[in-house]
């Protein structure tokens, strides 16, 4: 039950937040209800007051003249026990009630003598028991010599009716008797109810009308906005030729026209930029291709010269060697550029096949062993014993690894490079860890930019074209995998390649950590392998720090 309520509340809340129209209509309804209700209350109250006041003054007049008549009638008697006094009271009551006991106006006239209960009996016309309707407070007020009135509800003749009970003392020569008029307020009640019903009906109609009006107006405003929102959504989804319908010349039409104008401009700009981008890529690709043919010729000539270098004098021979080396780099650069332009053009194709990654790692290490030996960097491997099979493109994976290991060796600072291969049910991961200078904060992303250099002053002497990591990142993306970097100054860097075990799967986790386990935590971090103490710190903050030593290797929870 509460669940249903909660659901309803949530849905209501959602609707409230989402629909401007609902909000406007609701606010209009509530505000107008309060306003109209207030006015209706005032009017109905006023009508009732007027009705009651007129009834009061009417009855008061009657009771005053009735009391003076009764006083005259009773003034003939000097003692309450005179026999004709009771008759006189009977006659007076009947006379004041209109003389005809069958009269239908419902007015009841009563004379009581609270001071002489034994001598004088209460008389009413028409005959009715009025004792219940005349309250003790009214009785007391009248007995005190006051003309007083009260509204009471009671049953005199059949059904329960509201009565205006008006009492007046009647002075006599022997004391005081009391005259009461009980006038039914049926007519006033019905009139008041009628007026109330009319006012309420009018008010409700007004509120409903205002609500409808608000709904209509909001709808007029909100609908174009909705259309604009939908159109904007479509535009952002790439449907650049979506436009709004322009109706009339009002503000909303202006909005639609402006929107359309904006969309048109955006479309033109986007198309222009696309075209430019396309031209740029094409240019790169074309330049690369066009350079390859002369380069091949130059290469062949250079190879010839290089082969004959022993026959030249040493300075020329040295130039031939330099030429050969730079040509290698040039060729490499062209290859990378072509690869990049292939990615940019979207022509890169993944050629996935189930591959054991362990041989791939070995192959890469073997090929870079020479370089590693030359710079004095030992390469350590942490590979599982079993084959690690994943559905990948082995050529691209190998290129990525070559790139990463090459970078690590290059920046290894003669410290070992660790290659780790991890696997779980959904993914495989390879991390390459070096212990060189490391990366500064923020450089983890920059390293993947094209032609990015950690130290721009450093000459590009060793290998790399500056495109390797970019191509690697594209390769990883092509697999639906991740290529991430971690580094800290002085602690070296670690790159992690995570690939789905099956092609096309979506990655959620990686089997290996990006941040190596031996990396120092920020702010000092806890003592290695020591327990952490979590407790109240200064200024009400929660403090986390190394637990005090000396009391053994045990965790303690204190509150």
């Amino acid at each position: 039950m509460s669940g249903r309520v909660a659901r309803v509340v949530a849905r209501v809340h959602q609707t409230w937040r989402r629909s401007l129209q609902v909000r406007v209509v609701t606010i209009t309804l509530v505000a107008s209800s309060l306003l109209v209700g207030g006015f209706a209350f005032l009017i109905a109250d006023k009508i009732t007051t007027i009705l009651l006041d007129s009834a009061r003054s009417d009855v008061r007049q009657r009771v005053t003249s009735g009391a003076s008549y009764a006083a005259k009638q009773v003034s003939l008697y000097g003692q309450p026990q005179e026999a004709q006094l009771q008759e006189t009271i009977d006659g007076t009551v009947n006379y004041l009630a209109g003389g005809d006991p069958q009269q239908t106006s419902g007015v009841v006239v009563a004379i009581t003598a609270d001071d002489y209960p034994t001598e004088i009996q209460t008389r009413t016309a028409p005959s009715a028991n009025v004792q219940l309707l005349i309250s003790p407070e009214l009785r007391a007020a009248v007995a005190d010599g006051k003309v007083a009135s009260q509204i009471r509800t009671g049953r005199l003749t059949g059904k329960s009716t509201k009565y205006l009970v008006y009492g007046s003392p009647v002075p006599t020569s022997f004391g005081q008797i009391e005259l009461y008029y009980l006038v039914p307020l049926t007519r006033q009640d019905v009139t008041a109810a009628d007026a109330r019903a009319t006012v309420v009906a009018t008010g409700v109609a007004l509120v409903i009308l205002l609500g409808l009006l608000a709904a209509l107006v909001t709808r007029l405003v909100v609908n174009p906005v909705r259309v604009a929102a939908r159109t904007a959504q479509r535009l952002s989804a790439g449907l650049l030729d979506q436009r709004m319908v322009v109706n009339g010349e009002d503000d909303l039409a202006l909005l639609a026209a402006s929107f359309n104008q904006m969309a048109t401009n955006l479309q033109r700009q986007i198309l222009r930029l696309e075209e430019m981008s396309r031209l740029q890529r094409r240019f790169t690709s074309d330049v690369s291709h066009e350079l390859r043919t002369p380069l091949t010729t130059v290469r062949m000539a250079a190879d010839l010269i290089f082969a004959e270098r022993d026959e030249f004098d040493p300075a020329v021979a040295r130039s031939a060697e330099l030429l050969q080396a730079e040509l290698d780099r040039f060729e490499e650069l062209l290859t990378d550029l072509l690869e990049i332009s292939r990615f940019d053009a979207g022509f890169a194709m993944l050629d996935s096949e189930p591959t054991d990654l362990v041989p791939v790692v070995h192959r890469v290490v073997d090929r870079l062993a020479g370089l590693a030996e030359r710079v004095g960097v030992p390469i350590e491997l942490d590979l599982p014993g079993a084959p690690v099979i994943a559905e990948v493109d082995p050529r691209r994976v190998e290129r990525v690894l070559r790139n990463l290991v090459g970078n690590a060796v290059e920046h290894g600072e003669a410290r070992p490079v660790l290659i780790t291969l991890g696997v779980d049910e959904t993914a495989v991961a390879i991390t390459v860890r070096d212990r060189g200078v490391g990366l500064k904060a923020g450089e983890e992303k920059l390293v993947f930019n094209r032609f990015w250099r950690a130290d721009p002053s450093r000459a590009r002497q060793t290998g790399g074209t500056g495109l390797g990591l970019s191509i690697s990142l594209e390769d990883a993306r092509l697999h639906g995998g991740w290529l991430e970097a971690w580094g800290a100054p002085g602690q070296g860097a670690q790159f992690r390649l995570t690939l789905p075990a099956r092609a096309g799967d979506r990655l959620t986790t990686s089997p290996l950590r990006l941040v190596p386990a031996d990396a120092a935590l920020p702010f000092g971090g806890p003592r290695d392998g020591g327990p952490l103490a979590i407790g109240p710190g200064t200024g009400g903050a929660l403090a986390i720090g190394p637990a005090p030593t000396g009391d053994g290797q045990r965790a303690e929870v204190r509150s």
Binding site: F41, L76, V147, A148
Partner: protein, 605 residues
Amino acid sequence: MRRPSLLGALGVMVLLGAGCGIPAVSDVRVDGKGGAVTGAGGFDVRRSEPPTRTAGGSDKEAFLRNFLSAAAGEPDRAYERVKAFVAPEDKPRLQDKKGSEVALNVVRLREAVYTLNSDSTTTVKITVQQIGVLRANGTLAPPVATETEYEFGLRGAALDGGTNDERAGFYILDPPNVLLLSDVALKQYYQEETIYFWSSDRSRLVPDQRYRPVAVPNERRVNEVVKWLVGGPSDWLRPGVVGLPDRTELINNATGANNRWEVNLDMSGDDQNSIDQLITQLAWSLGDLTGELELKIRNNSQPVQDLNERRNPQQLYPNAQSPQRFGVYDGAIHPLDFDGEPSGTVPLAPEANRNIISADLALARDQRVLAAMVVNGSSNGRYRLAVGTAVAPVSVISRSGTEYSSMSRPVWLRTADARAGRGLVVADGQLYRFDEAARMYPVPLNLPTSDVTAVAAALDGQRVALIAGGKLYVAVVNLDGGGVSIGPPRQLATSLTGLTAVDWGREDRLVVAGSARQQAIYEISVDGAVETPLRTDVGAKVNHLTAYPTNRVVRVPSGAYMYEANGVAYRSSPFERIEPDRVRDIAPVPAGVRPSNPSAPFFLY
């Protein structure tokens, strides 16, 4: 998402529903002071209440007097008051009656005999004359009871366990099962009121006698009077007068203060003429009450009338001049002269003024003189009626066709309009009516005896007093349709016997001559309750009695009456014999001749 608005609308409804309807119960709202209590200052009820049981102390006569007064007062509590005199164990014997059934037997106490018994009680035997029944509506009806004696016991109140205190008074044992009221108490604790009803031809107001307990405060006088009027006339007047329309009711009480009186009647028939007559009737019935009267007929106010202004143009009796005295001297009518009184000339032509035994002259509305005379017939001891009507002097005289061996003084029935005069005369023990042509028609009377001896007409012409068989009767006259009919006569209880002559001394008083122990002249109220001796030493039988009825229009001379006894005429106030020298226009009597006496004196008015 419509929820907030829905809630808002709901809130508004609730607000409207609860906030601005007529509340089911409100607080008491005080509008200010009501009228103040006037205080009981104006009412001194005890003053006029009859004395209580213990007021007489140990005096048995006083106790009996008080017992015979106890019922006086408001009829509602008459039984309560009387029962206070009755011993507790005997109270159930006196059965209560309520409302209009309460009737007081008014008696004239003749004698009370107290006999001491061995058980220290006293047996009281009273001898009474039943005068009438005083009903709740204030009328004194002819007596119903025929008892002339009542017997009951007396015992000291202190005997039932208390101290033997003289002031404890007595208790009545074995009380009579009626309420008794002595005529003395009636006089003392009741106020006589005269109310008026229109005669059946609606031409004049006829007085009706009522008794109002003096215990009833003056504030209620108007109320009582209006109630009497609504209740209709006394029974004996009914044939000749009309009450208010049937089903007329007084709506609540007639109220008033500060000389402004309000009467609200539920009355059918609302033509202005009858309402006007009703206001006149009310104005006169309220006696000398001053102030303004607001009459409402079914809550419709009539124009406010000042009572005095209403009474002044609507005189009860049209001829308001002082009376002139005349007498018969040597068979002719002559004026009688007295100091300080007006005297006129004989309104008869000399040729008509002959052979007259007795006469009645009346002034009619149109200045004519109505003359009716008993004249000598063809032979001695035979009489005829002679009638002449004309503007004075009357010269044309009609005579009745028949002669009678006896004939009383004729009387004219006075009318308020100019109708032909009609009169009544008793001849040979039979009542006759006569017209202006002296035609005589016997008038049937519903009387046990046919021996009518005298007739007298009241000033209003609607009531007559008769003497038949030595007893006194009053009856109403109905002049409808040109004839004269007499309603059922009502006998009046008097202590006189052998009545011989009667005339109206006031609106509600008769002057009668009869025999107490000796010949006497009494004034008797028209219901017989009040009896005042005027002269108790008349000596001879009165055979002729006339009075000038004082009334509320002409107040002088009060109580004037003249009579003839044993051939000698007397007058009252001052009482004296009417000497021959009072007779005007007579030839001087030769010396040595005993002058004739004036006889059959009468008033012309």
